[in-house]
Symmetry: C2
DNA sequence: CAGTATCCTTAATGATACTG
DNA sequence: CAGTATCATTAAGGATACTG
């Protein structure tokens, strides 16, 4: 409830405006971004959206992720209640990861993210090329 | 924009889940997250969603941000075509920042993010407390 | 297989001083 | 006011070796 629509017409602003009001500086958005904003969480969530996966399966499905980072990523997702971890005491050991209901609700958000990304990918790439051309050696990236 | 809630999604079935297929490993989502995932971008965007802001205004509106990080943040947003920067050659200098149309479209995404955050803030906090209680000294955070 | 434990490199952020 | 330039500090991520 930390974000409200306001009809603020401070400038020539048309359309819905996001506002945090005075309660918190960040509407709590940062708590989500602190999880999704890292390098691997979204990729793991997307893979788990397809179904239950074992550790090695996940690692193969997310090319480039190290064993260490996969462990850290699934642990943090588990800690947040987004992923469940089930250990089968077999030999060799078998551990299954699965999205929780809350984790599944997250996939809708990720889809929104993906849609926006797809829609603005090209414009952003173009803006970057133009900016870089106009600001050579700026060091900004 | 419209996020569809499908209720219980059995993981093994072909549902309206997020899929990247084989085209890219990340659906391009990472490109957005690489910008929004940092510590300050979202906060700056949220503030600019209220209207045009000058540099110092922005800094006061985003408590805790350093001059350096504000500069880096607005430069990167400008580079991506999300924010426009207008310099008025006055004394003292006056520089105005404003969301571009693409920047405004971003605020819809941020709102979706904020909504999800607000809705799951408490469950996540509870999940963390429980996990931490069950895994003392794990080092995970 | 599913991890831990170390060590190392790089990226991100912060603090401070200075300038047109 | 609106920055830049430096230096210091953390945090994130990667490489590799080892284990129940």
């Amino acid at each position: 409830m930390s974000v409200r629509h306001t009809g603020v017409t401070t400038a020539a602003t048309i359309g819905p405006v996001v506002s945090c009001g005075e309660e918190h500086e960040d509407c709590g958005i940062r708590e989500v971004l602190d999880r999704l904003g890292d390098k691997w969480s979204v990729l793991v969530v997307v893979e788990l959206a397809q179904g239950i996966r074992r550790f090695r399966q996940l690692q193969r499905a997310v090319p480039g992720i190290s064993q260490r980072m996969l462990t850290l990523t699934v642990r943090r997702l588990e800690r947040d209640g987004l992923v469940s971890r089930t250990v089968h005491p077999t030999v060799p050991p078998q551990v299954e990861y699965e999205l929780t209901p809350m984790g599944h609700s997250l996939t809708h958000l990720v889809k929104t993210l993906a849609d926006w990304s797809a829609e603005h990918r090209d414009p952003i790439a173009r803006a970057r090329r133009e900016w870089d051309a106009e600001h050579p050696g700026s060091g900004i990236r």
